[in-house]
């Protein structure tokens, strides 16, 4: 936003103009090109669009980056003009709404491409660090920050989901305003690429888990399933070790004794009435 040279009256005027045009209905009437990246500012700040990062102007204006989108988006040229703030045509409300819708769709589709670029990844990483995308609802993940992702790269198939890098699972956003965002605006690859590019951000995995119990006793059906799952895990660890790779689990330094300690743990179950989690959480006693 521009500073209005210290005069009070114009500043109020411009502020009013600013707030007026800040609402969705009026944005198109504003053709003041001084407000750079105005539409995008509005879009990013709009409630429900917290997951989006701002796409650089030069990325948007490079036609190469928009390859193929003209067939995907209605009123492509108008929408692009609107996103880049050069749209100055008088159109009726219906039309404007259509174009506005297209602009948001276009922005989303470009966004999916932008977030896998170096700059896009950096921006999303910052948001990830701040926890803009929320925290993992799974208790054992201890509020691990999430990343937005799509299950499909084709628009209008599924909504955005949130990926937890600790449990490597995907969750529905808890707010309904995020549940209506198209997953294709983030894509299927972005979150995985982010951890490839910034491997230090990948959290250590945990082998702790919730164990259903009744009066302190494990329940056979789920316990048997968990033993089966843990066998799969140990198989995987063996495969990784055979290749000389780190397993990435937090308590791997115990390494070899682990099997023994697990067996021990089975033995002294009687003092475990209140610890529903294996491992660390026993400290509460």
């Amino acid at each position: 936003m521009r500073e209005p040279n210290g005069h009070t009256a114009p500043s109020i005027e411009s502020l009013e103009a600013f707030t007026r045009t800040w609402t969705m209905e009026d944005f198109a009437s504003d053709t003041d090109s001084d407000y750079t990246s105005y539409w995008r500012d509005w879009f990013i700040a709009a409630r429900g669009n917290e997951y989006f990062c701002e796409i650089d102007e030069d990325y948007l204006t490079d036609r190469f980056n928009l390859t193929g989108l003209n067939t995907e988006v209605q009123y492509y040229q108008y929408a692009l003009d609107l996103v880049t703030d050069v749209f100055d045509m008088e159109v009726d409300d219906d039309m404007r709404e259509q174009i506005e819708k297209s602009a948001r769709h276009l922005y989303g589709l470009v966004h999916a491409r932008y977030v896998v670029t170096t700059r896009g990844l950096a921006k999303m990483m910052e948001k990830f660090k701040q926890g803009v995308f929320g925290k993992c609802p799974r208790v054992i993940c201890e509020s691990q920050h999430l990343l937005p992702m799509g299950q499909h790269d084709i628009p209008n198939v599924s909504n955005v989901k949130l990926y937890c890098a600790r449990c490597e699972d995907i969750y529905n956003p808890k707010s309904s305003r995020h549940n209506s965002i198209d997953g294709a605006y983030f894509g299927t690859s972005f979150h995985n690429i982010l951890f490839q590019v910034y491997p230090a951000l990948a959290p250590v995995k945990t082998q702790r888990r919730y164990e259903p119990r009744i009066y302190g006793f494990r329940v056979h059906a789920s316990a048997a399933l968990m033993r089966w799952q843990e066998e799969r895990r140990e198989e995987m660890k063996e495969r990784l070790k055979a290749r000389g790779l780190e397993t990435g689990f937090e308590d791997e330094d115990e390494g070899e004794e682990e099997l023994e300690s697990e067996e021990l743990e089975e033995g002294n179950g009687q003092d475990g009435i209140d610890d529903m989690f294996e491992g660390r959480m026993q400290a509460v006693q």
């Binding site: 499909h152 490597e168 969750y171 995985n192 491997p199 995995k205 399933l225 089966w228 070899e256 099997l259």
Partner: protein
């Protein structure tokens, strides 16, 4: 008992209608009035008697105020002489328990809440209480699992500890057997101990006929559209176990022979199992197989991909947590006693074979095998090597040793 003219609403129903208390069931007064149900709570809750009276609306408010005053005098008379002392004492109390405020009524109020919560923990495991919770569950009062592959399975409030003041209430999803934080922060003031650790599992064992899976969409997520690499096997192996399918895929895969060709491709994936499953038991470990963690297993595990290509397990940031969401396609694999019996039989056979072999040779073979497996049982390996070094002294000894090693290896690979 309070007369109907005093309060239009009982303390219990008022408490349960508070914001954030949506998960609570209304404990019946009969349950509370039975002293047996309150065993041991007296020592856990301060001002137990007053709190209990408040819950049961036994006395009008004025009377209970007086009662408090008397109680205070009894407790610390010297402080009562000094009006300042009283407030100090209360400040201490407020410090000790977060919920306390500087009036006796609110002290009792918070005691009553604590007491109600602890009674509630017991009540919802009783026949009457669990029935009430079942009604709330059916109505979806507790919400749905946030996990995508649980398809909105309904969850239950549980605690991770039975001792109050340790953890807030969590939500247990029967579809993935995991616990989640409630989406709304207003539940973060509710103590998990008020629901307890037992309730979640007991509930589903009490109502085994409840379908715990979510509303899995009839057509599988249209995987073939997006990732053409994951075509046949993934969707059709899933189709084998599920009944409802989209018309297209069912017409392709419903006949038994059509599934056969996928056998070979499916074997590539570690957890994939042959499509024509062996006969499935009606009941596996006390649960019907379709109700055992329906949100887990093949097709319900997130598969990280970059531009359509799976991220390899051996990549530094590759997938490591798939085991957490895995489940055998064949429920018989979870029948541990049958597997154990089979293993015992096989072991007996192997032991017989060992006995027939020359002693020395058997020992050596086992030794190599042991080292190949790795240091699963480090101590055992060392001790044995020493024995082997000095070995060959007694054939009988060597033989016994060999059998012992055989079991160690088997146990190691079974665990690993």
């Amino acid at each position: 008992m309070s007369s109907s003219s005093q309060a239009p609403e009982s303390w219990i129903s008022a408490f349960c209608s508070l914001v954030g208390h949506e998960y609570f069931a209304e404990v019946s007064e009969d349950f509370i009035e039975d002293d047996f149900n309150l065993t041991g709570l007296q020592s856990q809750v301060p001002m137990y008697k007053e709190a209990l009276e408040m819950i049961l609306d036994v006395e009008p408010e004025d009377a209970s105020d007086e009662e408090e005053e008397e109680e205070d005098e009894d407790e610390d008379e010297d402080e009562m002489l000094d009006p300042e002392g009283k407030s100090y004492r209360q400040a201490d109390a407020a410090e000790r328990r977060h919920l306390r405020m500087a009036s006796d009524l609110s002290v009792i109020e918070s005691s009553a809440e604590m007491l109600y919560g602890l009674i509630h923990q017991r009540f919802i495991t009783s026949r009457q209480g669990i029935q009430q919770m079942a009604e709330k569950y059916e109505l979806g009062h507790f919400g749905h699992c946030p996990r995508v592959h649980c398809y909105g399975a309904r969850v239950l409030p549980v605690g991770c500890s039975d001792i109050p003041g340790q953890e807030t209430v969590k939500l247990f999803c029967p579809s993935c057997l995991d616990v989640y934080t409630p989406p709304n922060s207003r539940f973060q003031t509710v103590d998990g101990a008020f629901f307890g650790t037992t309730f979640g599992c007991l509930f589903f064992m009490t109502f085994p006929e409840l379908d715990v899976g979510g509303d899995k969409p009839a057509p599988p997520p249209p995987a073939p559209l997006v990732d053409p690499l994951a075509t046949g096997p993934s969707s059709t192996t899933a189709a084998g176990t599920k009944t409802a399918r989209s018309s297209l895929s069912s017409s392709l895969t419903s006949p038994q022979p059509a599934t056969a060709p996928h056998n070979t491709s499916a074997s590539a994936t570690a957890n994939a199992n042959p499509v024509p499953l062996p006969p499935q038991p009606d009941n596996i470990n006390g649960v019907s197989p379709h109700n055992l963690a329906p949100g887990l297993g093949h097709g319900n595990i997130y598969e990280p991909r970059i531009y359509g290509f799976r991220v390899s397990e051996v990549a530094k940031t590759g997938p490591r947590m798939k085991w957490l969401r895995s489940k055998p396609g064949d429920a018989n694999e979870l029948d541990e006693s049958a597997i154990w019996a089979a293993a015992q039989a096989a072991k007996a056979g192997a032991a017989d074979a060992d006995a027939e072999m020359p002693d020395q040779g058997a020992g050596e073979v086992e030794d190599e095998e042991m080292e190949g497996v790795g240091e699963v049982v480090a101590k055992g390996g060392k001790g044995r090597r020493r024995e082997n070094g000095g070995g060959g002294d007694g054939g009988l000894n060597g033989n016994g040793n060999g059998v012992g090693v055989g079991t160690a290896v088997r146990a190691g690979s079974g665990g690993g």
